[in-house]
Amino acid sequence: MRIDLNEIQSWIKQNSRVLDLGCGDGTLLKFLIDNKQVQGYGLEIDAAQINLCIDKGLNVIEQNLDRGLGNFADKSFDTVIMTQALQTLHFPHLVLDEMLRVGKECIVTFPNFGHWKARFYLATRGRMPVSDLLPFEWYNTPNIHFCTFKDFEVLCRERNIKVISRQVVNEVSGQTLKDLMPNLFGETAIYHLSK
């Protein structure tokens, strides 16, 4: 599941300093460097993904996000980005706090567990949803902390995180419905946050 890079790009300033948490193969970081001339660093723990970042000539740093961002100074980045990794963390709320400490702004994307297909799957079959978007069994999934859009916004309120804007992106279906009832029909959200 890839987020439309343009959605994220529109929130990144030219020549800014960007930290991408769980940067994967570096596609987003490379895109931002090419299009916004950012000074970017990516954090990643997967050896194969790190290799792909190196191939692209990116600044990739092997670091486990669950060990925090204590090595980065307060407000040392303009934007800290985390795409599709929130749900894989042991302590997503703490990482979110850390992102907002290290970055002036943050961009977070995650899949919506409140999507109607997930609800329907659980309701009718009584089993944890498995789909082409979430192709794992409950016991082997890297996605250990799923949430819905609503859950996430409750967390933001509790931790005094300001939602600057929100985009709901659907790759599969429901292009119109997602704007009417995002928590039911939205597949992925891109949140732009600050504190």
């Binding site: 290799n51 190196i54 191939d55 000539g57 980065f72």
Partner: protein, 380 residues
Amino acid sequence: MPNEIPADSVGLVTPQTHHFTQPLLLACGRTLDEYELVYETYGQLNAAKSNAVLICHALSGHHHAAGYHTLDDKRPGWWDAYIGPGKPIDTNKFFVVSLNNLGGCHGSTGPRSINPATGKPWGADFPMVRVRDWVASQARLADVLGIETWAAVIGGSLGGMQVMRWALDYPQRIRHAVVIASALKLSAQNIAFNEAARKAIVSDPNFFDGDYLAHNSIPKNGLAVARMIGHITYLSDFAMGEKFGRDLRRGSFELGNDEPVEFQIESYLRYQGDSFANTFDANSYIRITKALDYFDLAREYNDDPVNAFKQASAKFLVISFSTDWRFAPERSHEIVNALVGANRAVTYAEIESKHGHDAFLLPDERYQQVFGRYLAGVSV
């Protein structure tokens, strides 16, 4: 030993020597009026002289990093796994320069060399050399070879310290800095190991306050113990356990048997110590470990490594190994964090390995991938 030279080897190599006559002022305040550096090169320098790579060696290293001197050599150079055609430091692409540092004992001017002022070996009077002195002499070697800018300067351990010093002292002459299993400065524990090793040497009755050559003797026992101490710290507990365990080389624990028992690890360490004592110079060992102890990249920058790295303009690749406790991954994290703080380009990989500090010398699939892919991206 090689019946035939392997296809991915640089093949037979011949060391070269350059005699420098321009005096070199050392960090300790003394001057070497003239000196020699012995070096090897692998690959071809291109017309633009833009493909040169410098290898900086560690404590017990030297200029012979790759290939063979003769077909009778038992082993190739010390970093042959990483230097050669198609290897991470690809000699089809790069012109590789590897030298023996000043103060060493493998051909460059050092304590065993003749002091021109006295006509006798320098011995204990050879000046203390520091990492910055090595880097300054390496820069002069680059001048001799017509290399204005290194595509990359590469080193592990103490070699990595030289790489970082290069990036600060000659920022315009180094495009990429590859710092492997190294540190911004040694920890107290690290200095302690070095001092225990030095104490073993100077306590040897054959040391004669460093003037053993004049007494026709060599402090072999001291050197051997020094090497044994060092060697223990370069391996991991796991690797030692896996390789030797509690296996016996001699004797048994059978009741009623008082035959002396010898563990395999004892025999191995003794062999390592003895063979080192036969090839290494005690005064060199003392000087090189002192250079390690004294190195502190940020000392002149208010002890702020971020400030230090603001002098650098090279792009960095930093690599550490999970079980390395002599130059632990945390030391590499400090390097990486300072580079990020200074807004410098850096890539960092922490290689899972069971081999401790020695891992930087040994073949490892992921290490080779990270290293090779990074250098493949270096433009020449």
